[in-house]
């Protein structure tokens, strides 16, 4: 009988040492990481300014902002998981609604009977809520659903930004009457009676000079969350769900009316949409549409000359590995003159490590196709806990776009987590997961609660560094919607964060001296007057950065329409190229830096 060869004692000992060494690698690596983090966390404001070039000071109270988001109370059949289902609704968008040159803040509320707020920027560092005065406060009445977000766009080109309010309920359109009052024009516009929406964007998909509107449903539109006919309302899969709300594409007919054309234009998805962003991703002159979906893959709708959309998510590489998409933002991360797309997802230690996606285009062979590669891991912007809203912005004016990500899902009992029960049900068969009656009770536990935010600064060479704690972002509210604006017209982007069941935070930004900037406030003439979709390329010191005027991005948010470019230490710029949605191209040569430039589309 053959005997097994027995290894020598030295080899046996060596093997054990090698095995223990392998086990020790991650422990040593983690200790090293923790040490670095704890050293960095004790950074003072002057040190942060010196090291990272900026510091964010939470200033909501000092600025006169005292808004607390209230969550809805839904049908009693959902009582056992109420905080889980009612975990969205906090949203913020930026607008200069009265054209006084100062950016204002609109923030929505989600409890029945609660009021939305419109914080008018008084130009002296403080704000005053004027929502009730202008008719935008009392919009969450019983029976009409509750607000989940708002996007601003001048749909009738009268020079004032109108607002589309989306809800888990009846969507509303308000016309801006000269910056003094808003008139409800929902019926005239022909909007549907009920949509459980979590995303909407204004964009002019056919470049006819009139803003159109995309609206993405989350729960199906026949579900009234306050009067449930069935408990089978949940997704039929945690990663492949296709039983969510329908999508709407409203074509602006130009007389205050809209025609719903989604099916005609090729948008037929029933995925659970949480975010969308429109941008010309291929340089065709027409805006494409990127939709991030919860419980599934993202979708990329290529705009075929304004005549039809073609969904190519799978071919493009963004629609293959399903996750829990919660934000969609575009930014030119490496100053290459092209848009990258950032999508947030869920990462929870040892349970579900999806990682966020930074989709960067590969070399493009033709305008009819585009391929993306996920570079989030390489760039260091992947692990962000339970990430919701994310926005690109050059926070330290060094010439490269940084990234702010709001995190945290449900913060209740600090010491008890719902993750075990959540994972139990999430992996089950669709007949089990889709019925709320099968979902274990939340019992006051948290689900990825009390999370620290992520502020990633871009080194411009392919790496981001996480500095939130060091630059003053220390809150642990359940962050949802993030919007950026230069509220004091001083060349620094401030950050506004809407938190679920939490306060609206205003992080005022102090940028270290010596960094330059330039801003543009565009107004369309042949194009839509909001200039949504206009692209601006700034060329300086060998850099080329592309930005666009957006009609909504991130999670339930909209940045200021003005475009802000950090320039680092450069004292001049070569030129600025503007491509208007109408196709008109305009070049500004050597515009002055450290100024905001108002630019009208040439006729």
């Amino acid at each position: 009988m053959e005997q097994a060869v027995r290894p020598s004692r030295i080899i046996q000992i060596g093997l054990v040492i090698f095995f223990v060494g392998l086990l020790a690698i991650p422990i040593v690596y983690k200790r090293h990481q923790r040490g670095e983090a704890s050293k960095a966390a004790n950074v003072s404001e002057p040190q942060a300014l010196s090291r990272y070039g900026f510091y964010l000071q939470e200033s909501s109270k000092a600025s006169g902002i005292d808004f607390i988001h209230q969550a809805p109370t839904l049908d009693v059949k959902l009582a056992h998981i109420m905080n889980l289902v009612a975990s969205m609704g906090a949203a913020v968008s930026i607008v200069d609604f009265d054209r006084d040159g100062w950016e204002d803040i609109y923030v929505v509320n989600s409890k029945q009977g609660s009021r939305n707020a419109l914080y008018r920027n008084l130009g002296n560092g403080t704000f005053r809520d004027v929502a009730a005065e202008v008719g935008l406060a009392d919009v969450n009445l019983q029976g009409t659903g509750v607000s989940t977000g708002a996007v601003w766009g001048d749909y009738d080109n009268d020079g004032y930004e109108d607002v589309f309010l989306y809800k888990w309920g009846k969507p509303e359109l308000f016309h801006n009457d000269g910056g003094k009052h808003f008139t409800r024009v929902t019926e005239q516009a022909g909007l549907p009676s009920w949509v459980n929406a979590n995303t909407a964007v204004w964009f002019d998909y056919d470049n006819d000079g009139k803003l159109d509107l995309f609206l993405g449903g989350y729960y199906p539109e026949d579900v009234d969350l306050w009067h449930l006919k069935t408990t089978k309302i949940m997704p039929n899969s945690f990663e492949y769900a296709d039983n969510g709300g329908r999508k709407y594409l409203f074509h602006n007919l130009g007389n205050g009316r809209f025609e719903e054309v989604s099916a005609k234009m090729g948008i037929k998805s029933r995925r659970w949409s949480l975010a969308a962003v429109a941008a010309d991703l291929r340089g065709t002159g027409y805006p494409d549409l990127f939709v991030a979906n919860d419980y599934g893959v993202s979708e990329l709708y290529l705009n075929e000359g304004g005549k039809r959309f073609r969904e190519v998510g799978k071919e493009a590489g963004v629609g293959f590995s399903p996750k829990s998409g919660m934000t969609a933002s575009v930014g030119d991360v490496l100053n290459q003159g092209q848009f990258d797309v950032y999508v947030t997802n869920i990462s929870e230690e040892g349970v579900l490590v999806q990682g966020n996606n930074l989709w960067m285009p590969k070399a493009q062979k033709s305008k009819s196709a585009i391929r993306y590669e996920n570079m989030a891991n390489t760039f260091g912007v992947e692990l962000g806990g339970w990430s919701f809203g994310g926005q690109f912005a050059d926070l330290n004016n060094d010439g490269f776009l940084d990234l702010y990500v709001a995190t945290g899902n449900v913060s209740l009992d600090h010491d008890h987590s719902y993750w075990y029960d959540y994972s139990k049900i999430a992996g089950g068969n669709q007949a089990i997961i889709s019925d709320t009656a099968n979902w274990p009770s939340l019992k006051g536990r948290s689900l990825s609660g009390y999370q620290h935010k992520r502020v990633w600064i871009n080194d411009g060479a392919g790496r981001f560094k996480e500095v939130a704690q060091m630059v003053g972002v220390k809150d642990v509210y359940d962050g949802r919607s993030v919007a950026m604006a230069d509220f004091e017209n001083r060349g620094a982007l401030d950050v506004v964060v809407a938190n679920q069941r939490g306060p609206l935070l205003l992080y005022k930004n102090t940028v270290a001296p010596g960094k330059h900037w330039i801003e543009f406030d565009l107004e369309g003439q042949r194009s839509n007057r909001s200039a949504i979709g206009a692209e601006v390329r700034v060329f300086w010191a060998g850099q080329e950065q592309l930005q666009q005027v957006s009609g909504g991005s991130g999670f339930c948010s909209q940045n200021e329409r003005r475009l802000h470019f950090g320039l680092g230490k450069a004292t001049s710029i070569d030129r600025v190229e503007i491509r208007w949605p109408s196709g008109i191209k305009q070049t500004l040569t050597n515009p002055r830096i450290d100024e905001m430039h108002k630019v009208k589309e040439p006729l």
């Binding site: 060869v5 095995f19 991650p26 983690k30 490590v353 692990l383």
Partner: protein, 300 residues
Amino acid sequence: MIRANSVNALASTGKAENRMSAIGRFFSAENRYLPPLLITLILVAGQAKFGLLESFSRTALAIVTSMILDLVLARLVIRKWPNLASAYITGISVGILVRSPAFWPYALCSALAITSKYAIRWRGRHLFNPSNLAISAMLLLVPEYVAALSIQWGNDVWPLVIVWILGAFIVWRVRRFHITLTYVVSFVAFSALRSVIVGDSFLAEVAPITGPMYQLFIFFMITDPRTTVKSMRGRCLVAFLVAAMEMVLRLADNVNAPFYALTIVGPIAMAIDIWRTSKRRPNGTLRPEVRAGSVEAPAL
């Protein structure tokens, strides 16, 4: 003519028998390449349909690490060229079951699994299921970067049916189906018990076993011939105890309960089995299957 026909008929029969015996050999328990082939089929189909892997490159990294390290350690430790089917399966199981957006956990997990095969032995036999031990270690040590497969095959019934057909076929061929069956029955019974204890619905408690990760676990991990005990009754008892330990861990809200349960119960059962076997074989001779070049079909 008649004779010629008879010869032809005999020749045809012989060919048919040869064909049958070739097919029989291919599907036999001794064909070490059948499980890797079928698991690869599951993997490729799952990736094509669901994109269940983080990426092919990460899985490839796990497989290559596993096979290279197995070659090196086999030469070093037993001074023989190993059959790489087992290392391939270890690598592929790491590639499927480990979920991480980073690359390094796949290499590290494979390295841990293969090294454990050589480093942790008693009387020439494994104590731990290699990939189970490695995945448990990763989940314990680096949960920030690693999770186990859970929801990535969707919640549809068809992937389960396919895995059940292929899985049942494989474990039936290696005569381990009773382990799977015992575990499933035990899990369902414990689900009912947990439902009573924690107050959640029975469907919520039984839900995990209707998901894809469990299909891999019950067919390809707990049935590993090299890390199961000798007697059929003993194997059924171990499967029951794994399910029981899992219930205890589940009551403590442990998300990765099945992996940890097997990591705890498996080596204890193996140690008892080895001790009992050695008592019966005082000269310390090893079971034939533990020698280098063993013919038993590998599992996860």
